[in-house]
Symmetry: C2
Subunit: 330 residues, 2 copies
């Protein structure tokens, strides 16, 4: 692992100049500081620095996800992470990011410059600039709902989507449903792809056929329903599993608009169990993602990565929350 | 959660009799003690008891796996688990078990009677009596290389076999190999099945065809080689990936007996990186399972289960260790 002296030798400058660059002293130029930081990252200096007691700082980067109030998906994830991190005496900064922010500085350089020992990334998209950089990062990084191959410094955590969808199919099967539709979230999302595969697997394991007219990718918004629900209803579906609770709320509305009663005529299941789900009419049966546990687990895994346990993947069990939007088929 | 009083009410005996049964006092009959313990388990009393400071005891159950010396697969797994557990002030008992031992007492009852807060199970077989009981256990349990559906108290940990096999195929592909054989371990093992699927996936991702004459399930012993290597060689394989290092050692011997030089005529890759692998002739290229990390991770996950974070699955990244049993194709 590189020392300050190695960095000084590589750059042909003094040890004290390197030290100033790393510690943010004001008496060297911004240009030289950037060169020192980039070289330190390249030479793998980061991990060494992280071990100093005074730098016990972690970071949560969040994008494409709301987290300000208890109603929002990210709120409990952030809370769970912080609860566990504070208990172990870490400081945690929460930094919302945008695509342009990611273009302004390299991930590793940002981490090193700010003295973070590791980060938890929530809501990032596959095409984000930092996602590419994670393939080679030397920073301990836990990534919610996305997977990076082969880099021992990065771990994927998320809900077990296979078990979640299986819980939904199994619940409907027991209620007598045989023609089950699936309105998934967005295409090109790892989570949607897992749930799609899970749906086909679970239907097969229950001896049920998937009707291609009864599955579709939509978007993770309520509006998705109106494009697909009419087709599902004409095809004779008696139940609709939805990619999240927002979609499910749209599906319930759309069914009711078309004169179908939920759950008497058609059963609807969501995914996530956001707080509004219990307040829908009827209250929504849904697959709950345990967001506090996901956040706590994010910390536990990040701490393991910091201690050089190269975990690649960790899944949390979802739970089926039975409410009134599903019923035994008549 | 049930209290001592609940158990007393259910059984129609005094609170002090229940307490004696739970705490192993000598002035009640063995029969009554067993009834108290079984009832306590049934009523979910275990978790409550586990929180008392004086009962900070964990257990490692080990079966079908050697662990006495550094050369053996289980040694570092046990070591890693203990290292992490001791740091957090847990006592750890290591208990070798047999199928008949598992028939002598229920898993939950054994755990409760001995005051364990959680257990790490290594080397268990699918048909073991306790494996069935794990579907409904209330005891926090981490299971190495086996998966239990839907029970939030049980987590599977192991190496990422998909990534491991992909590392092996990728290494051979870069060396110019196109006709790659796979001599897997035993059929009816979750790990073997994962590696089989991983082999097909990885070959496809590399644009290579799997020749059915060049894949076989054997057993996790060196002797497996002699039944399958002749067929692989006649089919024209230039490289053989093996289910573990023992199989690979047999494969090297078998190739050499038949006049094939390793690696000049045929490349061989193992799985595990047991200490003897570097002493084979030639030293074995292999996919290393990080056993110390697996053990440490076993503790981290068990501790999370004890704190009600329902992790279902955690995978550790394997590493490719390049030695002299693989070479560029001539």
């Amino acid at each position: 692992m590189a020392t300050i002296k190695d960095i000084a030798n590589r750059l042909g400058i003094s040890v004290s100049a390197v030290s100033k660059g790393l510690n943010g002293a004001s008496d060297i130029s911004d240009e030289l500081r950037q060169i020192v930081l980039d070289t330190a990252v390249e030479m793998g200096y980061s991990t060494k620095r992280s071990k100093k007691e005074e730098h016990r700082k972690l970071c949560i980067f969040i994008e494409n996800m709301e987290y300000d109030t208890e109603n929002q998906f990210g709120y409990d994830i952030v809370l769970g992470f912080k609860q566990n991190a504070f208990r172990h005496k870490w400081d945690v900064d929460l930094i919302p990011v945008t695509p342009s922010f990611q273009l302004s500085e390299k991930y590793d350089t940002f981490m090193l410059r700010n003295g973070y020992c590791g980060a938890f990334l929530i809501g990032f998209a596959l095409h984000d600039e930092w996602m590419k950089q994670l393939e080679h990062t030397t920073m301990p990084t836990v990534l919610f709902d996305n997977y990076i191959k082969k880099n021992p410094n990065v771990c994927y955590i998320g809900s077990d989507n296979y078990e979640g969808i299986d819980l939904a199919v199994d619940h409907l099967y027991i209620l007598g449903h045989r023609k089950i539709a699936f309105l998934n979230g967005s295409l090109h999302s790892m989570v949607s792809e897992q749930r799609q595969e899970a749906f086909y697997n679970s239907m097969q394991n229950h001896g049920l056929e998937v009707d291609e007219e009864c599955t579709a990718f939509g978007y993770y918004v309520a509006d998705s329903a109106k494009y697909h629900v009419p087709g599902f209803l004409s095809a004779g579906a008696t139940a609709i599993i939805c990619g999240n609770d927002l979609i499910a709320s749209g599906v319930i509305t759309e069914c009711q608009l078309r004169g179908f009663r939920v759950p008497e005529d058609i059963s609807v299941i969501g995914f996530d169990d956001l707080p509004f789900s219990s307040m829908l009419n009827p209250p929504l049966t849904t697959v709950r993602q345990e967001r506090i546990e996901l956040g706590k687990c994010g910390y536990v895994i990040l701490n393991s990565l910091i201690h050089h346990i190269a975990i690649s993947k960790t899944l949390i069990r979802p739970q089926l929350i039975k409410r009134e939007s599903t019923a035994r088929i008549e």
